[in-house]
């Protein structure tokens, strides 16, 4: 089987602290992959390594067979990795629709001159992106608030908008950082179905960080568990649930 994303001994140190230590995992195209671990385990740092926010101290990250460690975030986005943020980072004063259009821009670039001169080409591209954006908003059930300022949305809606914005870049790999945080059980159920649809209908591979065990266990096909920056287990949900190390590190605290 081909590999879409591979972390090979990915390590990052901040001074004396090893935030992520020799983490290895492989994600295959079309997988729903979970990344879990207690607070401070290094999950979001892992995301930041993959998306180029940080450069790995050692080890390498491969995407589509090419090393991407240390590449800038916007280039990585162009290569086909999009993400959402744990602490929502929407373009607050832009409308919901405009947020999603920004996500689509990288696939349909407009020259600065044609934008300044309002040439037909720039208008066509913008219109095409707007229509696409509306379709993505439909997927996350936000099309009815397309013209609302994104800062005025409820928390759960803002999380869904982040997903739509990331999807608009049409990534091969979608990274979701705690997509269900702050959602009620009903919203979580809807999100679960939505993420599944994103994979099934749009062919995107999904890597997600989540604290809600039931959410992760029912959704993901394969899970990696981090603790203190170290990988302590990897496997399908059923195995992870039984793993004594995981129970000690993580599930043990909850039960």
């Amino acid at each position: 089987m081909t590999t879409l994303l591979e972390l090979r001994d990915a390590t990052i140190r901040f001074g004396g602290l090893v935030a992520v230590n020799k983490v290895c995992f492989e994600i295959h195209p079309g997988q729903l992959f979970g990344l879990i671990g207690p607070n401070g385990a290094g999950k979001t740092t892992c995301f930041n390594l993959i998306t180029g926010v940080y450069r790995p101290t050692s080890g390498e990250i491969f995407f589509d067979g090419k090393g991407i460690g240390g590449t800038s975030p916007s280039v990585i986005a162009e290569k086909g990795i999009a993400r959402t943020f744990q602490n929502i980072r929407l373009f607050k004063s832009l409308s919901v629709l405009e947020n999603v259009v920004v996500g689509g821009c990288l696939r349909r670039p407009t020259g600065l001159f044609s934008a300044l001169a309002y040439l037909p080409k720039a208008i066509q591209i913008t219109d095409a992106l707007r229509d696409e954006a509306l379709r993505y908003l439909k997927i996350v059930h936000l099309d009815h608030v397309a013209n609302v300022r994104s800062a005025d949305l409820s928390y759960g809606m803002q999380r869904r908008l982040e997903i739509a914005r990331a999807m608009a870049t049409q990534p091969k790999l979608l990274l979701l950082d705690e997509p269900a945080a702050g959602m009620n059980p009903q919203e979580k159920g809807e999100l679960n179905a939505m993420v599944r649809r994103i994979r099934d209908d749009h062919g995107m591979t999904v890597l997600l960080i989540e604290h809600d065990m039931r959410f992760v266990m029912t959704l993901c096909e394969r899970i990696v568990v981090l603790d203190h920056g170290e990988e302590i287990a990897q496997g399908p949900p059923a195995e992870i649930r039984e793993d004594p190390k995981v129970i000690a590190a993580y599930l043990g605290e909850a039960h």
């Binding site: 916007s74 986005a77 920004v102 020259g111 934008a115 309002y118 591209i125 509306l134 099309d143 870049t169």
Partner: protein
């Protein structure tokens, strides 16, 4: 909010061609129509046009892309000196007609300023907010001091720019071009990338927005317009000197952008005209007794303190409240003036012309306290806005598929 990216009738090519043609026709006739006006009025109209160009182009950098630049006067200066230098060395040699010469020097000024903008834009890759402001301020001062000490550029005396060219049509043509470019940009997906950089750099990068390039381009385009304005200024004044481009110019430009409503193009235009015109209009202030001069600021400070208790209510009530505060200020100022006049020495008359900047400063403080988000805040005066005022609902987007 930005200009929404829906289309209205401006999307049709014939509408745009027609409006460009109409604007050009009006501009070409403007100088003939206003020929009867006295020179002072013409001077005010031309300088106001230049301030519109400067404020709107600074708004592209500060308001739309969110890069706090305090050195806009430097780009203005680069354009002016380029034009001045070319005029003093090349004009007689090339012997071009002025109608051809002016566009050429404007382009030359724009290119020179754009290069300067590129140089300032590069440190902005690493700097944000206050730090960037300090660097741009320093850059402006460096350029000014270099020009002030360079024999080539005439040291403090500056350069004489020999053919005088004073055209209202040309100046406002440049202003309209600048406004049109910014508005066009915000109507396209490319413009949204600029706004995205202002809103959140990390999220923009994660969405594939070339953050660095966008910031530098904002500097390049913004300073190019300032440079073209500088070229017009050089030929308008007939000379250039560093005194015309002091830090005050940069500060007043930042004030215009903030006062108009950061990011709002039409807001920048309105604020540029107002802030340029208010001090000019106040040259005619009547002589005033000392008592009133002391009374007015006291009244304003006393009543604006109430404004600082934030008011949460319907917009209409807020307007009424602010209007009440302003009227209250006037009444209290007159009353205080009458009371203070009884004190010894308070009836001394002060020359009106000396009050100009005091009144200007107080106006600014009052405006900022009453409407901190700027005159237009993040709105634009546009056709869609007029439609909304007429009670038509905002256009909604339908899925076409």
């Amino acid at each position: 909010m930005s200009l929404a990216i829906h289309r209205n009738w401006t999307q049709f090519a014939w509408v745009r061609l027609l409006s460009v043609g109409g604007v050009l026709l009006v501009l070409s006739q403007l100088d003939g129509l206003l020929a009867g006006q006295n020179d002072f009025v013409k001077r005010l109209i031309i300088l106001a046009g230049l301030y519109v160009v400067l404020a709107v182009s600074l708004n592209l950098i500060n308001g739309i892309t969110g890069q706090f630049s305090m050195g806009h006067a430097a780009f203005y200066m680069v354009g002016a000196y380029t034009a001045g230098y070319l005029a003093s060395t090349q004009f007689t040699r090339l012997n071009l007609p002025l109608t051809l010469w002016m566009p050429l020097v404007m382009v030359a000024g724009a290119i020179a300023a754009a290069i300067a903008g590129l140089i300032v834009g590069l440190p902005s890759l690493r700097l944000r907010g206050d730090y960037l402001a300090i660097v741009t301020l320093g850059f402006g001062e460096i350029l000014r001091i270099v020009a002030n000490n360079s024999t080539e550029l005439g040291k403090a005396f500056g350069l004489n720019v020999s053919p005088n060219f004073r055209s209202i049509g040309l100046t406002w043509g440049l202003a309209i071009l600048c406004v049109a470019c910014c508005r066009n940009l915000l109507k396209t997906s490319r413009g949204l990338q600029f706004l995205a950089v202002r809103e959140d750099e990390i999220a923009s990068a994660a969405m594939g927005v070339p953050v660095t390039r966008t910031k530098v381009l904002a500097f390049v385009v913004g300073s190019a317009f300032a440079g073209a304005a500088g070229a017009v200024l050089a030929h308008f004044e007939g000379f250039v000197s560093t005194a015309m481009f002091s830090m005050d110019v940069s500060f007043i430009l930042v004030t215009m952008v903030v006062l108009g409503g950061t990011g709002s193009i039409t807001g920048s235009v309105i604020a540029a005209v107002l802030l340029f015109y208010i001090p000019e209009a106040m040259r005619e202030l009547p002589d005033t007794p000392m008592a009133r001069i002391l009374g007015a600021p006291i009244a304003i400070v006393a009543l604006l303190r109430r404004e600082q208790e934030r008011f949460h209510g319907p917009a209409r009530q807020k307007w009424a409240r602010n209007l009440g505060i302003v009227l209250g200020c006037v009444v209290l100022a007159i009353a205080l003036g009458a009371v203070l006049a009884n004190l010894p020495g308070m009836n001394t008359m002060v020359q009106g012309s000396k009050l100009r900047m005091v009144v200007f400063a107080i106006t600014l403080i009052a405006l900022m306290l009453l409407r901190p988000q700027g005159i237009l805040a993040h709105h634009e005066l546009s056709w869609d806005w007029v439609q909304r005022l007429r009670g038509k609902p905002a256009p909604t987007h339908e899925v076409s598929a």
